[in-house]
């Protein structure tokens, strides 16, 4: 027999994401979903950002990775609570993984929770996890065609961090094009040019962050 249905396939994920959102709100923690391609510099950015703000706000981290614990160890050295999620091959974090990882964190003692998503410009943008803000990093070594190739992530993110700006004289890359295309896709997107290597732009980004999460 035929059975008619009208079920959204990602409903379960979206429902759990809503529950996460409520849980984070009740605990008074602001949640940032950090996304990028592999190698764009998410972990370095987190190290720089946490070092700059940890005296002012209490920070926690959920590290998502396909395998391994290297990134979590780097964050742990900064003295902030961190939980590692190994997705065992999955290309993104989903709401359920976040719900489980969050149980291992002292949420009530935190002001900000960073979720470092799996390196991938497509899939993480499709799955809500209950975050307050999406932030993406694009390194200039990836080229200037990325916004138009992967529009969704640019459209969903509140902030674009253009990283590895110290290499701009060595590369044939048009940073103005990246900015222009990103703003075309998302006129409200806030853009910072940064270098996690030299520290350029980190101050502007962390000051903006502190005023926008409190």
């Amino acid at each position: 027999m035929k059975v008619k249905l009208t079920t959204k396939i990602l409903d379960a994920n979206d429902r759990i994401a809503e529950e996460n959102k409520r849980m984070f709100k009740d605990a008074g923690v602001y949640v940032i979903n950090l996304m990028s391609s592999p190698g764009a510099g998410k972990t370095s950015l987190l190290e720089k950002t946490i070092s700059a703000i940890k005296d002012k706000v209490k920070v926690g981290v959920i590290e998502g990775d396909i395998t391994g614990t290297n990134d979590a160890e780097r964050i742990e050295r900064l003295g902030v609570p961190v939980v590692q999620i190994n997705t065992e091959g999955a290309c993104h974090l989903d709401a359920n993984m976040i719900a489980e990882a969050a149980r291992e964190l002292p949420l009530k003692d935190l002001d900000v929770l960073f979720i470092e998503n799996v390196g991938n410009l497509v899939c993480p943008a499709e799955f809500k996890v209950g975050e307050d803000m999406k932030v993406m990093i694009l390194s200039i070594t990836e080229g200037d065609d990325k916004p138009l190739k992967y529009p969704l992530m640019f459209q969903e993110s509140s902030v674009l961090l253009i990283n590895k700006i110290d290499l701009k004289d060595l590369l044939d890359v048009n940073i103005e094009k990246i900015k222009k295309d990103a703003q075309f896709l998302n006129p409200k997107i806030k853009i910072f040019e940064i270098s996690c290597k030299t520290g350029q732009g980190i101050n502007e980004w962390t000051s903006w962050l502190l005023t926008n999460i409190s």
């Binding site: 027999m1 035929k2 059975v3 008619k4 249905l5 009208t6 079920t7 959204k8 396939i9 990602l10 379960a12 994920n13 999955a90 290309c91 993104h92 989903d94 497509v122 899939c123 499709e126 799955f127 138009l148 529009p151 969704l152 459209q155 075309f184 896709l185 006129p187």
Partner: protein, 115 residues
């Protein structure tokens, strides 16, 4: 790619629906996939066929209906439609990126054949 997660979710929904209503097996599942979801239908089919093996859907056929991206431009007001996969949401009439999607983000189960 996230097609595996989506196949897993859709099997979960279908199997749970059967358990609730006492059906023993699933012969087919119909889904609609909007072209703006970024879902590759070949990858979805592949993942579905791998994941269904140990379930009551092991003999089920997945029928995928793709929906075009439809939008309306906020600048020139024209409606447009595109059958390209994962397109840039650009108005073909005036080139504006300021568009409202009317369809293309669907990812739904619409029908099952069960016994």
């Amino acid at each position: 790619m996230h097609e595996a997660s989506i196949a897993y979710e859709l099997l979960n929904i279908a199997v749970n629906e059967c358990h609730k209503n006492g059906y023993k097996s699933i012969d087919s599942i119909k889904v609609v996939v909007g072209r703006a979801t970024g879902v590759m239908t070949d990858a979805l089919l592949f993942a579905f066929n791998v994941l269904k093996k140990d379930t009551i859907a092991k003999n089920a056929k997945l029928i995928i209906e793709e929906l075009p991206v439809r939008g309306v431009c906020k600048d020139c007001g024209k409606e447009f439609e595109s059958n390209e996969n994962y397109i840039i949401f650009e108005c073909p009439n005036c080139g504006s990126f300021s568009v409202n999607l009317l369809s293309g983000k669907e990812l739904n189960i619409t029908e099952m054949e069960v016994s």
